[in-house]
Amino acid sequence: MATKTSLTETGMEVLTNGQITKGLEVFEQPAGSKLLTHLNSCVHCGLCAESCIYYLTTGDDRFTPARKVDIVSSVYRRYRTFTGKNLPWLVNARELNRATTDEMVDLLFGACTMCGRCTMHCSIGVDIAYLVRTGRTMLSNMGMVPATLQSTVNAAVESGNNMSIPTDEFVATLQWMEEELIDEVADPNARIPVNETGARILYTLNPREPKFFPLSISAMAKIFFAAGESWSLSTKMYDVTNYAYFSGNPSEARLIAERLRRETGDLKAKTLVLAECGHGSRAFRWEAPNYLQEHFPFEVKTSVELIAEYIRDGKIRLDPEKIKDVVTLHDPCNLVRNGGIIHEQRYILKHFVPDFVEMTPSGTDNYCCGGGGGQLAMSEYNDRRMKIAEVKAEQIRKTRAKIVVTPCHNCVDQLSQINITFKLGVKIVTLAEIVADALILENEKK
């Protein structure tokens, strides 16, 4: 979205009053006392620095989580506190001007994956990632979302999926994958059902799948087939992602979430299953009900939970001799630390992978791969994104694994780039892919 700004005599862009007013509206958002609390809590101890991959890999003080908190709360102090209004120098209360917003864009969009690792470790308990999101919303209100990220959101808003895949192309890909599936399971009745009303499960996809990795669609279809599941995809709304969550635009996030909610209702599915996408799962499972202010009348779960259920209930069987290499697991921040799916993926892998090695640290303490927070969409920060990936590359190297599993397509993307850049020589797969590989089917082609 283009921004209307005026110029000073020196040619520097200045913010309009309208932009400033819109930006400050963020402090009025209804969040109970949560926002007020976190804006007032940081004590500038600076101890969170080492929790953040940006600081760890660059040693640049500007990139500490505390500085990201401070730039948002300093604006709050300037306009919403007695001390900040009257003695701004005392508490470093900052004007909302072009210099401030430029720094905000660089720090909040360009130097944070919103992974929340710092939040969990903050000495006080400041929800740093939440304040980063608040800052992003402020910038979004002012029309200052980086154009690269905004174009991904626009694609989703305008076309229904963030890669603007035309429906006929999507349908053709599904037909092709159905043929693959039939061939693989050696059963002419195997299907990838589309737009079926009344199926128990409506399944979603990350548009990266039909666009670049269609085999991950057939992998999940194979699992559904093996479990004898009643399921369907929708050609109208299948995109699990919601980049407006990252751009900080609640109305666009609401619009995207509403489409998926409506489609689930229209197809009368009992359960909406979210594909392997960290932020997509978070955005729909945890944020969408709040965007839409309603309790969904259907169950929402991730494919990770569903696969674990299938194993637990004996609906699928896995061959423990199939995977011979050392396997490690990357925990997507939004699924694990911010989504509570911590043990299911481990339960699945330990069920059939004989040589499973954890990264250190792992689980809720795991480091972000560097691709979160919309970083993969913002090409202007590519160099920084690969710099912060040093931490993940080192974590993977130390496991000596040959296969890295991650239940998130965005993480797969970033990890694949890490694999090439840091010459790790590993194979990156999703959970569905490794499970589908080890499935025991009666008719399967040898």
Partner: protein
């Protein structure tokens, strides 16, 4: 002097207002202002309440909030603690010193007296904890990253609290320091609601919200595999 202060020569005692000097009245007024403004912060937090969550919860809130105040704060779990153990323990000692100094300030109005040994012990403890506060201040001044993060409020808050502990220690042993003690305490009380010292209120709200957030999503308390 019976029942009227920490030292044998006596501190201020509310049951005996004749003994109150101007500095007592100032500190009493400062305390009133501090409590009133702190109450404003507190009432605002309580009135706004917690955010409304529409997603189906995946865990229990109360155990998570409990964990937020306990296990999650332990050096075994918190990276900001275990990567910075000297600062962590200095911070704990500094806060304990502050709590003791505040307690002594309130008790000073009740007329309680203390044996000499206890007075010495408390004074030594407060000098040690104020040393921790000074150490934290020096670290803030010397480390480039911390310096660039800091504003005048960070320095003033630390100096006020550190001096408060020091002067409490002094007054435990030497009652001629009362005027300085009460004036410094008044400054601290007046400054409290304006700067970062008010984190004494917001800390509890922050830990509550964090426990609520992670509890709702089933992240805290940590589950067994």
């Amino acid at each position: 002097m019976q029942g009227c202060g920490i030292t044998e020569t006596g501190w201020l005692c509310l049951v005996n207002p004749d003994k109150m000097h101007w500095y007592h009245w100032i500190s009493l007024a400062s305390l009133g202002i501090c409590l009133l403004l702190s109450l404003v912060h507190l009432i605002r937090l309580i009135r706004l309440g917690r955010p409304t969550e529409y997603a189906t919860p995946a865990g229990k809130i109360n155990p998570a909030i409990g964990y937020s105040f306990t296990g999650a704060m332990s050096p075994a779990k918190k990276e900001t603690a275990f990567l910075h153990l000297p600062t962590y323990f200095a911070g704990i000692a500094y806060h304990l010193g502050t709590f003791l100094a505040i307690l002594l300030f309130f008790l000073s109005w009740t007329g309680i007296t203390y044996p000499v040994v206890l007075r010495f012990a408390m004074a030594i403890f407060l000098l040690a904890t104020s040393g921790c506060g000074s150490g934290i201040l020096i670290k803030r001044m010397l480390k480039k990253g911390l310096r660039s993060l800091s504003n005048p409020d960070d320095y003033i808050s630390n100096i006020l609290v550190t001096f408060f502990q020091m002067v409490t220690a002094v007054v435990l042993l030497w009652d001629k320091a009362y005027p300085v003690y009460f004036i410094l305490t008044s400054m601290l009380l007046l400054y409290f609601p304006a700067g970062k010292l008010k984190h004494a209120i917001y800390f509890f709200a922050a830990r509550y919200h964090l426990g609520f957030f992670y509890g709702w999503r089933g992240v805290w308390p940590p589950k067994q595999a």
